[in-house]
Symmetry: C2
Subunit: 145 residues, 2 copies
DNA sequence: CAAATATAGTTAGTAAAACAACTATATTTA
DNA sequence: TAAATATAGTTGTTTTACTAACTATATTTG
């Protein structure tokens, strides 16, 4: 089965490219003197877009698991970019809110993040984007539980 | 600039899908009772295909950095799947070789790994694969240093 | 209502990624 | 040849991923 060998390569390409994208963003973040990581950015960006959320909601939106989210939240709290507020009706839960400092940071960084993201997409078209999304979603769904 | 917002999504999709692919393979490895990780597999598969290599060559082939390779090699050595042999002409370097046990493991696992890899590709075509590869390579190159 | 179950979040362990700083050895060049 | 530079690999630190096991609180059900 020659096909198997060939399609086995997609996972390598996928992993390699995903790591490069993250590495590139991480490096630019560093160069710009930002003290947050790319994954931390994803969280505060969600809070900026959607407003206050609990940890479960943040985990679902960013496709991270709960322990990972706990730790990212811990780090963002230490940096005083977000705040854990007790949930008024559910004592198991926290409401996560951006601080003023966190909101300022998102506003300041947003244009630069967009240009970092655009960089990867140079020389690619609108229809490439659609194809790419379709194929990624298909892979994702094929492996869903 | 509406485009920036939209293309910012590709990195999320990419990261999410790459993680799912790795997670799926990891879970299948577990279910099959295999004691190696997906990244460890990538290393012993290279050795199986290409024969003895040094750590630098393995790092380049798998697109991992040297510290990461050192640690994967350490783990595979502990499991006695590979062997670090001194390089006859360069005392800084090691030659990494599969043990018999390592070679047996690759032979035993290969068909199942291929079927794990094929699973992701269900409902996708030959030309999808070409498009996918082209776009991933383009992103990778756009972000190269 | 009490017991069983589900949910929100945390902690612990292992693996991996990225970076910096390091040791040891080779190679280049002044 | 001695000094400078390059290369192979290691170690330490931080962050993230995933799993399992855990605490505390809510909800369901018998």
């Amino acid at each position: 089965m020659q096909e198997a060998l060939k399609y086995s390569r997609y996972s390598f390409l996928l992993d390699r490219t995903a790591r490069r994208v993250k590495q590139y963003a991480k490096q630019r973040f560093r160069e710009l003197g930002w003290t947050i990581t790319v994954d931390q950015w994803a969280v505060i960006k969600q809070l900026y877009d959607k407003g206050e959320l609990n940890q479960r909601e943040l985990a679902e939106l960013t496709f991270k698991d709960h322990p990972t989210m706990t730790r990212i939240i811990d780090l963002l709290s230490t940096k005083e970019l977000i705040l854990r507020k007790p949930h008024p009706e559910d004592r198991r839960s926290f409401i996560i809110a951006l601080t003023n400092k966190g909101e300022e940071l998102v506003k300041d960084c947003l244009p630069e993040v967009q240009s970092i993201r655009m960089k990867a997409w140079e020389n690619l078209s609108e229809s490439d984007f659609k194809e790419f999304k379709r194929i990624l979603d298909s892979i994702y769904d094929n492996l869903s539980l």
